[in-house]
Amino acid sequence: MNLMMLLEMAAAGFPERVAVQSGGDALTYEGLFAGSGAAAAVIRASGAERVALLDVNSLAVPVLLFAGAWAGTPVAPLNYRLTGTELDALLERLAPVYLVAEDARCADLRDVPGVTVVSRSDFLAQAGEGEAPAPDWANDPDAIALLLFTSGTTGAPKAAVLRHRHLTSYVLGSVEYGAAAEEDAALVSVPPYHIAGMASVVSSVYAGRRMVQLENFSAEAWVDLARREHVTNAMVVPTMLVRIVDVLEASPDSALPDLRAISYGGGRMPLAVVERAMKLLPHVDFTNAYGLTETSSTITVLGPADHREAAASTEPAVRMRLGSLGTPLPSVELEIRDDDGVRVAPGEPGEIHVRGEQISGEYLGQDARTDADGWFPTRDRGWQDEGGYLYLDGRIDDVIVRGGENISPGEVEDVVLAHAAVLDCAVVGVPDEQWGEVVAAVIVTREGQEVSVDEIRDWVREQLRSSRAPARVEFREELPYSETGKLLRRLVRADLMGST
């Protein structure tokens, strides 16, 4: 198994079709295949053992991914916001490495031994002019395809390892070859250093779907590009959908008649946003996808039929599913286990464990976190309803332990967010002498609105147990989010600890 097999099949099946376009530039499937081969020859000649990418979404993303697969070198897409010592430290770990960087970045990069820097333009020129060698990639399923650095809460970032067999299994288990119609187009706006960005490349290639890249996300640019390029499919993270819905509501003439499907994931999605989006785009199929870097992207989906059924239902248990992550892919097994590793009954919370060919659970230089039977503990806490629908409580490490009682921050946040004066909210645990930890809430109020600390406490106490009412309530102008819409709780916590 090698990712190149997927591209080879696409290039054979629809050679003339546009594979990827960025601004005014484009590559057909045949062109992507030939370019990847030519780039692989350059990488091999450089003597590099790994390749890295420091770029926004551009044609270099798919070319480098497949060139690495062809050359037999792991590919490490890096966060383009990284600078200075952080970046140097990662490059030192990857050396000897062939680094493709956005043109404007090249001049600022410091000399790191073992790093060959090539600008995106030069890289694409070499890929376009060079000759593809014979298809001589190794068919080694255990070879590393991708290294994705995860931002650890403490210490140096870890590199999640995804091997060719993981990514190929993911694609074969979730995508049908050539499933896309000639006119289909997927708008890619998630950054390439995120697993969703990489998954969109391999899935789109195997489906034969044209990828339309958006360099940097803004809701206006997204809507404009979607209209202009007759985009049919898109994957977005929650914060993106919030802004897209805002833009669409503000300008009723910006309809998206070609759009057929939106999938979302990568963070907590407020229910109200999904409902607004479904009302605004009734012709669009919505899919909620849940997955982790270590699981080669998606492991559960809440599909379009589930969305429509839940939205139309008056039965609370069915209606609630709009806020669920859906059910596991047919190729993935999922279990909820308690602290002792015992499988729990429906409705009971615990740690989400998954097993399947696409699950890696491995970090560079460390033993795999999967157990002897192949089960991977996700460190995510959740529960399943009677129908097998999965609900997420949050990260296990974020659970607040107050006097021996486990409190999920998400549960308290949902209640606080339902208050009319609250725009956004983060709940974290802070140390307490009496209880070990107590609940703290940081709130962003809606413009022109106010709410008192006591009002918030009473509001939570009325709906949840009193132990869940925040001992501390603070107000801020905004909350810290990652670029892909993940609330950065460690920063919220650090802020609170610094202000006591």
């Binding site: 198994m1 097999m5 080879e8 099949m9 054979a12 099946g13 068919n139 399923p141 067999r165 074969l172 979730s174 995508v175 049908e176 070859y177 050539g178 499933a179 997927a186 969703a196 998954a199 969109s200 899935s203 789109s204 489906a207 499919n233 994957m235 499907a261 999938s263 994931g265 199929d285 899919t287 996808a289 997955g291 992207s297 998606t298 989906v301 599909g303 379009p304 892919l329 047919p330």
Partner: protein, 103 residues
């Protein structure tokens, strides 16, 4: 009869068909195309073999093929004139899954 491994790639000895093994039984089997045992990608077809008229319905790119017992599954990575078979049984196209696109 040989053991076949998941992830292995094989080609037809009598047409252009190529496959990747997605699921395999843990017993020795004979995987055929066009009625003739398939060979390794870098293997040489034995002399004198030809496409059997009873296994000439062809293979289709990107389709998965399976047997009645559903203990083998191969993905056609290059189409050809021969039909895929296992121990004399012609393999059928496995119905496509309809999963929503999640990326």
């Amino acid at each position: 009869m040989t053991e076949i491994k998941v992830g292995a790639r094989l080609r037809s000895a009598v047409c252009s068909t190529e496959v990747m093994v997605v699921a395999a039984p843990d017993r020795p089997v004979e995987l055929t195309c066009g009625g003739v045992p398939m060979i390794d990608m870098d293997g040489t077809p034995p002399a004198g073999v030809e496409l059997s008229g009873e296994a000439a319905a062809g293979s289709l790119m990107g389709k998965r093929y399976t047997n009645d017992a559903a203990d083998i599954e191969v993905l056609c990575t290059k189409p050809g004139d021969g039909s895929l078979g296992l121990d004399g049984e012609i393999l059928e196209v496995k119905e496509a899954k309809t999963l929503p696109s999640s990326d």
